[in-house]
């Protein structure tokens, strides 16, 4: 009976409960700091330019508990040349491991403590910097300096608690440029950037819950105002398991909306791999009774005309065949959407044996799509294989094909065990591919270059005092004030949220008005090339105060803010104060009487032919008047007066007509 799994759109929460779906998140988020975490290079400067390259290799070492890590051994097999691109302005000798670390950046540590408090973690009292091994070369030292600030916290979600396992503070890795054959190229600009990493317990039960929680964590981080925003500044690792399965990590998901399909496919893959294991068991194949045969078949297929083997032979490469006894038919099992079990093998070969020109293998379950029937017959004969067996062909140089065949056998054995503990890469189509073996606690070493760092309780208390309000509390409060949903969201994550509270509480400014100015109008300024962040909170407060005191109408607030910024952009040397700009506006609002004179005149001079409808008349008159009145009279009042005047005029017209 073939394996069935519901399509993505048809999965219900009950279906996920049925397969024992569990999901956890690790959210990596860059911090806003002056420098990188362990050196004094400027933070947040990115550029693809580089001055030079250096070349390194990675060798596995032992952990302090005396074990080699699985990932370490895998990366050793790949024999990669790692090329680092280096630019004078973004990296120093620390990043490429020719200078020991400097002390941890204080601003990064403070931001991390703040987040740890918000996540209700049990704080540690003394930081121990650890080295987490990464032999893929993404960090030139071969390890990431990392530390944790606390364990066992929680965040509220739908009336229950989502456990926060820990909060890490660590340095970011390189950006990969390319990975072809035995050469991997990295850009080093991002290397060493401070990252916080909240890790949840696997408490999410559906893909949607994973998305919701990812958003909550994102909001919580952003509400501190100390994390970087923009593409690539936040990356999610998503851990997935199903009943009877294993924890598998999907790494580096850049956008939250990608999560559901990725975790669906992973859940599906795990269920499918469990099915394959059971099927193997039924066929009498266990991990230690796996039978296989590996041979060089270059001569057997020497005359094939089928691509890509033909080209490989023409290049003088070797072709090797692995027979997996009793695996017949299984390679075509669908493990993810439009992805078969065969890809598990192909991925391994690509990553570990560096055979990354695709396709990098063909197999007998798709016999009709590759090679000719005659070729397969000869191969089966040569390899003494029958119809129940699966044959996999790989090509490449001697060393790489040897590694590839070993990996095929390793992966086949894992299939009989169940689900290997992998780190998987997130692919654009929502499926995932093999990245590396999931590293364990074995890859953690104490960093001997830096002593433990005690965090005095006073430092924590200081931070606790100025902790931002919980973002969900903030949101509830804003909603209660009657703000619209989009405003609630924007304001609760805005760096102006404290200022907003002051304006509303102390100056009694209308909440919606304050929110519109702070979230929308200032943002619009930025799009116009003005630089709203140059306005201090005090300056903005002063402008609002003028409104609260009755010196300035509502329209005037935005108007004055713009004038301030405008002058600063055009004449950066001149330091114009709020009162200077305010003084340029007449002290008191124009009186209603004075306004009415202007309104009457404007309405009387209207060319009624040009503006046939009263709406058009109204708009024209308003435009005319507000040039004069902006900042002096409340626009809504002017609008009302204009309407009244227009109505009066029309009444007048009508009455004269009737008289006539």
């Amino acid at each position: 009976m073939p394996f069935e799994f519901k399509p993505f759109d048809e999965m219900t929460p009950e279906d996920y409960a049925g397969i024992g779906f569990r999901c956890g998140l690790e959210v990596h988020r860059q911090l806003v700091t002056r420098t990188k975490l362990f050196c004094r290079c400027p933070a947040g400067r990115y550029s693809d330019r580089y001055d030079t390259e250096i070349l390194r290799h990675m060798r596995p070492t032992l952990s302090e508990l005396g074990e080699y890590d699985g990932t370490a051994l895998m990366e050793k097999k790949t024999r990669k040349n790692i090329h680092y691109r280096i630019h004078h302005d973004t990296v120093c000798t620390y990043e490429f491991d020719d200078t020991p670390p400097f002390f941890i950046a204080d601003d990064a540590l403070d931001a991390a403590i703040e987040l740890a408090l918000l996540l209700r973690l049990n704080l540690v009292n003394e930081l121990h910097i650890a080295r987490k091994q990464y032999l893929d070369g993404s960090i030139p030292t071969g390890f990431q300096r990392t530390t944790i600030l606390g364990v066992d916290g929680w965040i509220p979600y739908k009336g229950r608690k989502i456990g926060i396992r820990q909060l890490g503070l660590e340095e970011d890795a390189c950006r990969e440029v390319s990975d072809v054959g035995h050469d991997r190229v990295y850009l080093t600009d991002r290397l060493g950037m401070p990252l916080v990493e909240p890790v949840t317990e696997p408490d999410m039960r559906t893909p949607q819950e994973a998305v919701d929680v990812a958003w909550i964590i994102r909001k919580l981080c952003r509400s501190t105002g100390k994390v970087r925003t923009g593409y690539g500044t936040a990356r999610q690792d998503v851990n997935v398991s199903v009943k009877g399965g294993t924890r598998v990590e999907i790494k580096g998901v850049p956008q939250i909306w990608r999560i559901p399909r990725l975790v669906y496919n992973e859940a599906r893959r795990q269920c499918s791999l469990l099915y394959i294991r059971d099927e193997l068991k039924r066929r009498g194949i266990a991990p230690d009774s796996l039978e296989y045969r590996v041979d060089d078949v270059t001569r057997v297929v020497a005359r094939t005309r089928d691509e890509p083997i033909r080209s490989a032979l023409d290049e003088g490469l070797r072709v090797k065949c692995v027979v997996l006894k009793g695996f017949g038919g299984l390679l075509n099992e669908e493990t993810q959407e439009d992805t078969t079990f065969a890809k598990e093998f192909s991925d391994r070969i690509r990553v570990i044996a560096c055979l990354n020109r695709l396709p990098n293998m063909v197999h007998s379950d798709t016999a009709s799509e590759s090679l000719y029937g005659r070729d397969w017959q000869q191969l089966r004969k040569k390899m003494s294989a029958n119809q129940n067996d699966a044959l996999i062909l790989v090509w490449g140089d001697e060393a790489d094909t040897q590694t590839a065949c070993q990996e095929i056998v390793i992966r086949a054995r894992e299939a009989a065990t169940g689900i290997p503990s992998d780190t998987r890469q997130a692919l654009k189509d929502g499926t995932n591919g093999f990245e590396r073996v999931l590293p364990g606690a074995d890859r953690m070493y104490p960093d001997t270059d830096l002593p433990p760092l005690a965090i005095p309780p006073e430092r924590v208390d200081q931070i606790r005092k100025r902790l931002p309000e919980y973002v969900w509390d903030r949101e509830a409060r804003y909603r209660a004030m009657g703000l619209a949903d989009d405003m609630v969201e924007a304001l609760s994550l805005s760096t102006y949220s404290d200022l907003f509270s002051r304006l509303v509480d102390e100056l009694k400014i209308n909440p919606t008005f304050a929110a519109v100015v702070l979230c929308q109008r200032l943002k619009a300024f930025r799009r116009q090339g003005l630089r709203p962040h140059r306005l201090t909170d005090d300056e903005i407060t002063d402008v609002f105060k003028a409104n609260a005191d009755g010196r300035l109408a509502r329209e005037g607030v935005v108007h004055i803010l713009r004038r301030l910024l405008d002058r600063r952009v055009r004449e950066p040397g001149e330091r114009l104060s709020v009162s200077d700009v305010l003084d340029a506006v007449p002290d008191r609002p124009t009186s209603e009487k004075e306004c009415m004179v202007h309104i009457k005149t404007a309405v009387e001079r209207l060319d009624h032919g040009r503006f046939p409808t009263s709406a058009k008349k109204h708009r024209y008159v308003m435009g005319l008047l507000m040039n004069d009145f902006r900042g002096r009279v409340d626009g809504r009042k002017v609008s009302q007066w204009v309407s009244e005047e227009l109505d009066a005029q029309r009444g007048h017209d009508v009455s004269t007509k009737v008289q006539a």
Partner: protein
């Protein structure tokens, strides 16, 4: 035994562990005023404070918990860690050359000490084979641990024993000798060995590493492979140093033991040949000789070992305004030799002259070197130089200050006769004094110059 149970803990930390009946390697649940923690109690570094308990959590991270915040500790098991490099017997192949590796300590053969958090020296052929299996492709390796000291603790006693051990090993018939050594004073040791061990028939290769071998990016393996290859197959029968050429993992350089110097506190490519070019480039596959004037490998077993050493010698690093009483103090303390690292071509200021004159009269041997490191002492160019020479200060050509120091120690261990000392000092034994400085002997490229940038862009460094 109790000490081991509380390894590294003292004061409050130890008291808290004791009062809860737990110790190092206990798997515990700790209740504190700021929450609950589960983990394994680790030994504590002796240099750390006494106020924290170190836990290894299940995820591999270590954390410290303030001892005075702990309200209870419950032990639910014990798990002692054993750090062991997988030891595999080093294979023997009669067709391959025999190499002996002497261990003196230092980073080349080291591992983490999770107690002190420091790097401690340790090695055996089995361990080396376990972590650098490539060595077995090159030679049959025998190791002998002479000391386990960091290189700053190397001194006359160690030099002498090392030289004698080398002599014995040569007599035994090995094909090459490798000496694992800390990098800080490797060039001091390579200099003294160049004088104590003369006319060796085989290569004597010193090696170390700038990044400890517990790091994936360590230079230890490549340096070691290069050194063992130079010892097993190389043709340079001198005391040489094998260390990273560029900072990239590309090749190592073989430097003459008397012309090499550690020039950067942390770079991998820290060892540089001064005022000359290196002897050779070496990698796992080949040796490329850069010059031909070295002493070549022989098949005989004869070697001259002379371990004379006079310890009452010092280096005086001159600075403007130096007070002559420094020189007086050295002389009055009974020192018999002074190497001056002078300014420019080899100068000191006039007020020091009388003190130097007095020193020479008391039969203290004074030699002039240059603190510019590159270039020769030339005391005829300026009047002052001639005056200093008249006082009896001898220019030591282009000997590096540390090398001149080692040579004077060695010389004064043999004789006190002024002329004889002078003869030995100024007669080159290896290349401590060279006749000429080639045009490409002074190269430290400077960044941002277009042609250097072009070089950096295209050639890995």
């Amino acid at each position: 035994m109790t000490d081991k149970r509380f390894q590294g803990y003292r004061g409050t930390g130890k008291a808290v562990l004791e009062s809860h009946g737990v110790g190092v390697w206990s798997e515990v649940e700790v209740e504190s005023t700021h929450g609950r923690f589960n983990g394994l109690i680790l030994p504590r570094s002796e240099t750390s404070d006494d106020k924290h308990i170190v836990l290894k959590l299940g995820n591999g991270y270590n954390i410290g918990i303030a001892a005075d915040s702990i309200t209870s500790i419950t032990e639910h098991g014990r798990r002692e860690a054993h750090y062991k490099i997988p030891e595999k017997e080093f294979p023997v192949d009669p067709a391959k050359p025999d190499v002996t590796l002497f261990g003196t300590g230092g980073t080349i053969a080291s591992r983490l000490d999770y107690r002190t958090g420091a790097v401690i020296p340790a090695f055996s052929p089995g361990e080396l084979y376990g972590s650098v299996p490539e060595l077995a492709d090159i030679c049959n390796l025998r190791t002998e641990k002479l000391y386990g000291v960091f290189s700053e603790n190397m001194g006359p006693e160690q030099y002498i024993r090392l030289a004698e051990s080398i002599g014995k090993e040569i007599e035994k018939g090995v094909d090459g000798i490798v000496i694992g050594h800390g990098t800080d004073t490797m060039h001091h040791t390579s200099a003294i060995l160049s004088f104590m061990v003369q006319d060796s028939p085989i290569p004597i290769v010193m090696v170390g590493s700038q990044r400890s071998s517990d790091r994936p990016s360590s230079d230890a393996a490549i340096n070691l492979i290069g050194a063992v290859k130079a010892a097993a197959e190389g043709d340079i029968a001198e005391v040489i140093v094998c260390m990273f050429g560029p900072t990239s993992d590309q090749y190592c350089l073989l430097h003459c033991g008397t012309r090499v110097r550690k020039m950067h506190s942390s770079y991998r490519s820290t060892f540089r040949t001064i005022s000359d070019v290196p002897l050779a480039m070496i990698d796992q596959k080949s040796i490329k000789y850069l010059r031909g004037d070295f002493k070549r490998r022989r098949t005989d077993r004869s070697v001259k070992i002379n371990t004379s050493f006079e310890e009452m010698v010092t280096i005086l690093y001159y600075y403007p305004g130096m007070n002559p009483d420094i020189v007086d103090a050295i002389v009055d303390k009974g020192y018999r030799g002074i190497i001056i690292a002078g300014t420019g071509l080899g100068h000191v200021n006039k007020p020091v002259y009388p003190a130097l004159k007095r020193a020479v009269e008391k039969n203290v041997h004074i030699y002039m070197t240059v603190q510019t490191l590159w270039g020769y002492v030339q005391m005829y160019v300026y009047e002052t130089g001639r005056e200093i020479m008249e006082l009896g200060v001898v220019p030591a050509a282009n000997m590096l200050p540390e090398v001149a120091y080692m040579k004077l120690c060695w010389t004064l261990g043999q004789t006190d006769d002024r002329d004889e000392v002078r003869r030995i000092m100024l007669t080159p034994i290896t290349s401590e004094i060279t006749e000429r400085e080639p045009y490409n002997g002074y190269l430290i490229y400077q960044g941002e110059i277009p042609e250097v940038q072009e070089f950096l862009r295209t050639i890995k460094r």
